[in-house]
Symmetry: C2
Subunit: 395 residues, 2 copies
């Protein structure tokens, strides 16, 4: 069954570097897990490549906590390359000659989708903490509405790392018939106690900043930059491995030959972390950080499955490729293995690849040839099993 | 060679639960690594058991970052048991019938020893950031002056975990002839990039708190409680293991049957962390936290040894027992193993025990029977090789 769509010319859709936005939920609002209905709401998204005539070559890319829809464009604020730039393009892993790639800013985000920094039409002021709590399932519901709008019923593939992997798993659970292939990378089926703990530290750092103003900083022309920077610094450590930090920085001093016996950034690792914190605040909204971390904390695919993860995938026809990285201690391989066990328990079609690397959780964003080869191999294999994509190369 | 001492009656020294203090460096100030001379300065300490006639049964206990001298007394602020209460007493691992135990609050600390919260006699205001940066070696120099004062030339043993282990290794390096036996537990010979990074996050959290007042909060009748609590929360996660957090808390909710879709402490692990942060600020000084974390960051035994750790121990006659814990990711076993390799390279007398536990770094403070058995065995073995202690049991 294909849904109707209002998108005028998906086929001739030219790539738009500044991105697209669409207002959804005008007729039928989105009912969130928390019980609140939201609509209309905006979803900002980016596409690459062309949708084919049978609308069967779409790949949905799900971004991570601080990611956004600018997967392969310069970031509109920082000017930096898109976060998966190296994977996307003609002939690349996510081949724009062959696939139509979509990535939307999550609901609750701060890059154009409706979130706490946007204006609440009911009050004409920023939502701030009056924005309803959203969940990973809510993000996925909003993405499904975007696909309806684009006239895409079934995704060839849904792919993402970290929080993106959570969305991938949620897609495969909520809309199994709309997902031909799924690639959850460096993810988990539920957020662990340690990860909740790290998120809570970040949230407390933001809320401890007086410039947070109980969430109403925009109204006061302020921003909790110090708290958000501390949150980012703490989180950033968890994205790297001890080995990567040792290799990149060790105890090397920063632009000096000896320690200064003070609290300046004597060590390169300090200078690097401070930079990570100070640049992050220019591109990310503090309240979005609160909301999105909370969505991750609440994620637990087993809750509605009587505690049995396998039930989430019972009867699935989706092909899965589960990927983890050896040195990722934020979403360790054991989490991915639990997903694979659950998929095996229901005789699902699943490949599992653990990539040997010392780069930690961030490896999914970095130049990891074995990882990229794995993705290419899986996508080619899945395309070969796909009725439409088998026959035609390119749109 | 025995130094003169001013302590009137060490032999008859009754245990004093509220602790002792002594003013040191009156005649000869302490020259710190940063180049500043400090003196007179106060060291607060605690003793348990009796010094024997030959002054040969002393064990120096070195405390960790947020520890203090109240090893086996109720904490004067929190009223909680001493941090190694279970190890100390007649017939226990650190047998007060046999040994004379000393633990002093480190220089730069906040439990009575001179540190940034004490009054700088030159200005009659709290030192705050005018307090000189101290190093692990400086802490050890101050402890050596305390031992001089107590009339103790040679320690039977110096023992400590975490930052305590750093002091133990510094003792063995700076004063090898004064240390008969040394037990560095869950420590390292140099602070790693990851650990410096976590400390930097804590320091930034404190300094980001406007109530820190550029360090002068005492002068303004304030305290950076929010920043210090965030620092403690982040650090506390690193003291536990992922497995311990999962076992203790998992995703269990806190006094509720379902999530509240908000930013309250829905999860037990959040509630626990918030409690750790909020209670810590009652007993610890924020500037001391800055200074002591900095001392740990600066610790690197190889710097003065041409980068070769083994040189730090060349010719040592000290007996070492190096202890690590399998699930400690803050000071992982690899760090202890590097110490053991260096000791082996100079043919030192060294035992190495890695304790199997899922309790993480904090295991050294917890009820770990195999750990306690290890300590007892090592101390008995060392005493059996010690001329004085072999003959006499008890003072």
């Amino acid at each position: 069954m294909q849904r109707s769509h209002h998108f005028p010319s998906v086929w001739g859709n030219e790539h738009k570097p500044e991105g697209w936005t669409v207002e959804l939920g005008q007729e039928q609002p989105l009912l969130l897990d928390c019980g609140t209905a939201i609509g209309p709401f905006t979803i900002a998204y980016q596409t690459y490549g062309q949708l084919n005539a049978s609308r069967s070559n779409a790949i949905l890319i799900c971004h991570a906590l601080t990611g956004d829809q600018f997967v392969a464009d310069p970031h509109p604020i920082t000017g930096k390359d898109g976060w998966w730039n190296m994977l996307i393009g003609p002939g690349r892993v996510l081949d724009t000659d062959r696939f139509f790639l979509i990535c939307s800013n999550v609901l609750g985000g701060c890059m154009g989708s409706t979130g706490p920094k946007e204006i609440n039409p009911a009050t004409d002021t920023p939502w701030a903490l009056s924005f309803p709590i959203i969940t990973i399932a809510d993000m996925v519901r909003a993405q499904a509405m975007l696909l309806d709008y684009l006239g895409i019923w079934r995704l060839f593939c849904v792919i993402g790392g970290s929080m993106g992997a959570m969305q991938v798993l949620q897609w495969a659970t909520s809309y199994p018939e709309r997902v031909f292939a799924a690639v959850p990378i460096a993810g988990s089926y539920r957020h662990s106690a340690q990860n909740i703990a790290f998120h809570e530290v970040g949230r407390r750092a933001i809320m401890a900043d007086p410039d947070w103003c109980s969430g109403h900083y925009l109204r006061h022309g302020k921003a909790p930059h110090r708290g958000l920077a501390v949150a980012r610094m703490a989180a950033h450590i968890t994205y790297l491995s001890e080995a990567a930090l040792h290799r990149r920085f060790g105890r090397t001093l920063h632009n000096r030959s000896q320690v200064t016996y003070g609290f300046d950034a004597d060590f390169q690792v300090e200078s690097y972390l401070r930079y990570q914190g100070s640049t992050f605040v220019d591109r990310f909204d503090a309240n979005s950080y609160l909301y999105i971390t909370r969505a991750m904390d609440y994620f637990d695919l087993t809750v509605e499955q009587g505690g049995v993860l396998a039930n989430a995938f019972r009867g699935t026809k989706t092909r899965f490729c589960v990927v983890s990285f050896t040195s990722d201690w934020l979403f360790p391989t054991s989490e991915s293995r639990a997903i694979v066990h659950a998929l095996n328990a229901v005789a699902a079609n699943v490949s599992f690849v653990e990539i040997e690397t010392d780069k930690g959780h961030d490896a999914f964003l970095l130049d990891e040839p074995e990882f990229h080869t794995t993705l290419t191999g899986f996508l080619e294999g899945a395309a070969a099993e796909h009725r439409d994509l088998l026959r035609c190369r390119g749109p």
